[in-house]
Amino acid sequence: MDISIIPHPQGVTEISVSGRLNMVTAARVREAIQSAVDDNRPRVAITLEQVVFLDSSGLGALIAGMKTAREAGGDVRLVKPTEQVELVLELTNMAGVLRSFDSVESAYADA
């Protein structure tokens, strides 16, 4: 799995993830979100276009990151989830909470 952190305008931080987001890699995603929050940039967009696999451990990391971000006045929003990621979000009923968007810009268009 690869992670890159890309700053966007209006304090939005894009975390672009590729590969598998499972129990092996979950902690790194969690840390990436935490570091954005620590940098006082809690508005996080996670680009999942290149994520081939998400499991409940990976989902747990996203939820944990979202709680941290929300406590700091931000959020975690998903960008371009793949079919498998959508499947997991649907079946765990998390699609309404961890919302998905087509781009980093549209993810925070409401702000």
Binding site: R20, N22, M23, V24, S56, Q84, L91, T92, N93
Partner: protein
Amino acid sequence: MVTRTLRLTAPPHTVDTVHDLLDSVWASVPDLSARDRMSLETAIIELTANVIQHANHGRGVQATLTVIAYKDRLEATLSDSGEVDHVDLEGREMPEAESLAESGRGIPLMRALVDTVEHRRVDGFNHWTLVRGREAQDVDRSSTRGMPSVSITGVIDEMARQRALEELGILDTSPEERFDRVTRLAKSLFGVQSAAINLIDGDRQWAKSVAGDAVVEMPRESSVCTDTIMGDDTLVVPELTADPAYADRAQDGLINFYAGHPLYASTGERIGAFCIYDPRPRAFTEREQAMLRDLASWVQQELSVSQELSRAAEVQQGLLPSKMLSMPGWDIAGFCQPARAVGGDFYDWYPVGEGAAITLADTMGKGIAAAIIAATVRAVLRSAARFGDVTGAVNLAAASLNADLDTTGLFVTLFHARVDMDSGEVTFVDAGHGLTVIARTDGTIERLRSHSPPLGVDIDTEWEEQTITLEPGDTLVAASDGVLDLYDGSLDGLDRVAALALLASSSQEVVDALRTRARGTSSDDVTVVVVRRDD
């Protein structure tokens, strides 16, 4: 049908290992829908992650995962060694989304992704089965004929089958004439291109014997014999390409006709098949089937010989002293590794008076004949030892063995000693053995000479008794000639062993070092006894 099996040990393996296995399954099932693929993959990863995370309180876990893609469904079974005190598959509900719980979603997610989840605990293993029906396909149910469904019983049967096969100790061994003559005969008798003795090992088929163009190893999914072992009857497929169940296993120029009969382990498991095949379709008469069965039962008998040999080996190992001698101030260890399943070497020790009797013997020859004589020598010496001194015991043993040795034309070299635990005096008879050495604490090495012929050579031999004394720190090593072969084959090897004894801090250390050296390389029986008097 596509089958893949993975044995996994976590750590170091992780769920990524499982992803890699699944990638190879998906690559082999191109018509699988994305939804089915994603669902089963996610479910399997959730299950594996759960097993890895929770089993054995972090002490690690071993598991075997099998994934089978049928035309109409996907099945995955995972058998793991984890200790699960309480498995609550039904009771776990998906946490509320708004609760933002970070865990607890794995098991409910897994259940949502497949049609059935089963868990059973048998023989200290957890067996999990996940089944997902495939999205509408052109289902050709005939193709699953004779294939085992991976129900839990199926998995347990398969594990028993695999264990029986492994216990036979025949996998990946060299060709043997006693099997090859049967396949050769079958090939010419039936006028076919190939004959083979195939064993079904995990996800492959391996042939102990092949005649003609028969293939030694192939994936189980391409094997016809894997169907033969599903039942007790002869399986005949006159024309593979004409039968939808076998069409995909036909190979141009190799196999389009098949006839095979199952082969069994002594415990009844079907471990493989004796089969013939040919690129030309043909009929196979009742009479021919009867002949094939006869040849299969011949192979069966040869397999039983293999199995009996391995049991004989267990019996022979059981004759070696299993207990340490409790002799204060002394440290004694030994080992015996036959070149074949059984051998003519043995060592022995037991308490006698204020000390112990120590024996190391080497019967000329190897294999079963030598083993039978070795067992007799051991028994006779043990009973004779009760009635006399060292010479008396050897005389008695030699007298009672002479007739047997004469008949069989074998002879036995022998080192038999009594150790007095207080004085350190060692009284011994060396009957043509001459492979005993003493490593003194000052660094000198003494070879003990043999002045007498082996047992079975000359009936009128007077056995000459010798005496030496082991001072504190001294070590006596008695070896068989197989030990010399671990070095350059000359007597110098004995000095090397003595030097090893000087450096070692216990008798067991010497034994372990030689055992390591002997591993897999010995063409002769390797036996050694090490007697050390504590400093």
